[in-house]
């Protein structure tokens, strides 16, 4: 029983990281109707912005995080949208998908070439301690990851539902033409979606890197899991992405513990195929309404 609790708790904390990446992925999907194949790298990169600030510029920890957040907003939000997505928006489709794949190669190779190929330890402002919960152990960091993700997703949902800007963003994502007529600045709302995605990616990066270390190739598996989480949960709902992320994290651990280690990576994929074929709107998604 304590083993069960242990792997479920650990799975929840890992899943919360997936969820953050998945939420951003869903936002970009909504705003630009594109699959961002570089989403994993978006989570990998901000940690290196912080490392550059801390180790190269010699800045303190908080300044490093602030710098990484700003750099992410500028590069993963502004530049990505302005230089890659925006020019291709009218046609979009496959060339855009290919372009995001190239972005993923670009980010990976740049980090490797200009910072290093090896995994890097990453500082955390959080203490190292652990908590005992009914025979299972959870580290304070894991618990914080989980709570922080819940808070972010909750806050984002409130923002989208309760604020004027949030509602405008939803309208712009659902039906750009109608929103335009109603006086919504669709271009601006799309930009907001990309900025929120960049901020979420940076946040996820800060959470994940102390435990999983910073490495140029970290995005490869993370990106795929984020897609799976978003689709399984239902990418037209933010809490769908959250549930999808947690579900994948927990199921992965349960399968590894009780069924098979060799095929642990297979279960999320089978789940993905099943959801796409029988419930393409996702477990929590609506069939018709494309709300964020």
């Amino acid at each position: 029983m304590s083993q069960f609790l242990q792997v479920v708790l650990s799975g929840l904390s890992t899943g919360s990281i997936y969820a953050l990446a998945a939420v951003g992925f869903a936002l970009v999907w909504q705003a630009a109707q594109t699959v961002n194949f570089a989403q994993g790298e978006f989570v990998m990169l901000p940690a290196f912005f912080a490392l550059v600030a801390i180790h190269w510029f010699g800045w303190p920890l908080w300044a490093g995080f602030a710098f990484a957040m700003l750099a992410s907003l500028a590069i993963l939000g502004l530049a990505f949208k302005g230089l890659v997505v925006q020019p291709m928006m009218p046609d979009g489709g496959l060339p855009l998908v290919i372009a995001t794949m190239a972005v993923s190669i670009l980010l990976k190779e740049s980090v490797k070439t200009f910072y290093g190929a090896e995994a890097q330890p990453f500082p955390s402002p959080l203490p190292d301690g652990t908590l005992q919960i009914g025979g299972a152990v959870i580290s304070i960091r894991d618990l914080f990851d989980l709570l922080a993700s819940l808070a972010v997703v909750g806050g984002l949902t409130l923002f989208l539902d309760r604020t004027r800007t949030g509602r405008q963003m939803q309208a712009a994502a659902q039906s750009p033409a109608v929103a335009e007529i109603l006086g919504v600045d669709v271009a601006r709302m799309t930009l907001y979606a990309f900025l929120v995605n960049a901020a979420l990616a940076a946040f996820a990066s800060f959470l994940v890197s102390p435990t999983y270390l910073a490495k140029f190739s970290n995005g490869e598996s993370l990106g795929l899991v984020a897609f799976i989480a978003a689709i399984v949960g239902g990418f037209n709902r933010i809490r769908g992405a959250l549930v999808g992320g947690l579900l994948v994290g927990v199921l992965d651990n349960l399968v590894a513990t009780y069924v098979t280690q060799e095929y642990r990576a297979a279960l999320p994929l089978v789940l993905l195929i099943a959801v796409i074929l029988w419930r393409p709107q996702g477990l929590l998604g609506d069939a018709e309404g494309r709300t964020v």
Partner: protein
């Protein structure tokens, strides 16, 4: 317009002649690169049929190369001749491709992309975990090269000509398919499925066929890869390789018959051209982004625009010269 056909034939013959002479005097590395270019061209042309012509995305082409390669490797290691083993692999890919086509009847676009991507990853896991069949992560080595009658394709040059012959036949077959009514049906499916169905096209059947045929070409590429590298292991058929083949198709020019050959040439040869710079992957990625942003029709699109401009300026020059 039938006047085009003899010219096309002449160009094809010249191209073939160039490919026949090309390796002479070059080292075996260059010949090896040519072989892998031909192999990727076949795989990419197959994907182009599914994606470029029929408009159904597949991110699983590497797994079909894997099915073809493993089948060929296992059978030839058991003493089968390549000529018997490769068709089995290709046929198997045809059948598996047919099955993978079923999701395409239900979902489109990004969803289909993810189903096929998931399939590719599942294939990788099976290839790695089922040691008894695939050799697991050690892979299969010492795969024999084909021998047809008394002629052995063991040497680098001999194997090149073997690959060239197989590729030429495969491309000819694909050419036949594309210009037959099937080719028209694939394009009709891509452009407007509902309309195609209302004109009597059984869109389900043609969708499945688009997958099956595209996959079979992937299988053939795999059947060449096994004796080319003489060693196969799961990582050669992972999702990343599928994305590489997709890149070839789109960079070359989606839905253009010769685009994949060009795209494959770029992906295989560019590292050569940029060798020596530490930044070649960065340069490569930037190039692809720029190409997609500025010219989504790919290299063939650039070539066509260029030729069209040339023709126009020539025509303009001709009219100017007249009076």
């Amino acid at each position: 317009m039938s006047s085009r056909r003899p010219l096309a034939l002449i160009v094809a013959a010249v191209l073939l002649a160039v490919l026949l002479i090309l390796p002479v005097g070059h080292g075996s590395y260059f010949i090896y690169l040519l072989c892998s270019w031909l192999m990727f061209t076949i795989a990419a042309m197959g994907l182009n049929l599914t994606l470029g012509y029929a408009g159904r995305i597949s991110l699983a082409q590497a797994s079909f190369m894997g099915v073809g390669a493993y089948t060929t490797a296992i059978l030839t290691l058991h003493g089968w001749p390549w000529l018997a083993a490769a068709p089995v692999g290709v046929l198997l890919c045809f059948v598996v491709g047919l099955l993978l086509g079923f999701p395409a009847l239900r979902v489109r676009g990004h969803f289909l992309a993810f189903v096929t991507l998931a399939f590719n990853t599942l294939f990788f896991l099976v290839a790695r975990n089922e040691d008894w069949l695939t050799g697991g992560s050690y892979g299969l080595s010492d795969i024999p090269r084909p021998r047809i009658g008394p002629i052995s394709a063991d040497g680098q040059l001999a194997f090149y000509y073997f690959t060239l012959a197989v590729s030429a036949l495969a491309i000819l077959a694909l050419w036949g398919i594309v210009r037959s009514p099937w080719g028209r049906a694939f394009k009709a499916l891509r452009e407007n499925e509902v309309r195609a169905e209302s004109l009597g096209l059984d869109t389900r059947r043609i969708t499945l066929l688009a997958f099956a045929i595209g996959s079979a070409f992937g299988g053939l590429a795999g059947a060449i890869e096994a004796p080319l590298v003489q060693y196969i292991e799961p990582n050669s058929f992972a999702v990343g390789e599928s994305l590489k083949v997709l890149l070839m198709v789109v960079v070359g020019g989606l839905g253009d018959f010769w685009g994949p050959a060009l795209g494959a040439a770029m992906v295989v040869l560019l590292p050569e051209a940029l060798r020596g710079t530490r930044y070649y992957l960065i340069v490569y990625a930037l190039f692809v982004i720029a190409l997609m942003v500025l010219k989504p029709t790919g290299l063939m699109g650039i070539g066509k625009t260029f030729l069209a401009r040339l023709a126009k300026s020539r025509a303009a020059a001709a009219t100017e010269a007249k009076p």
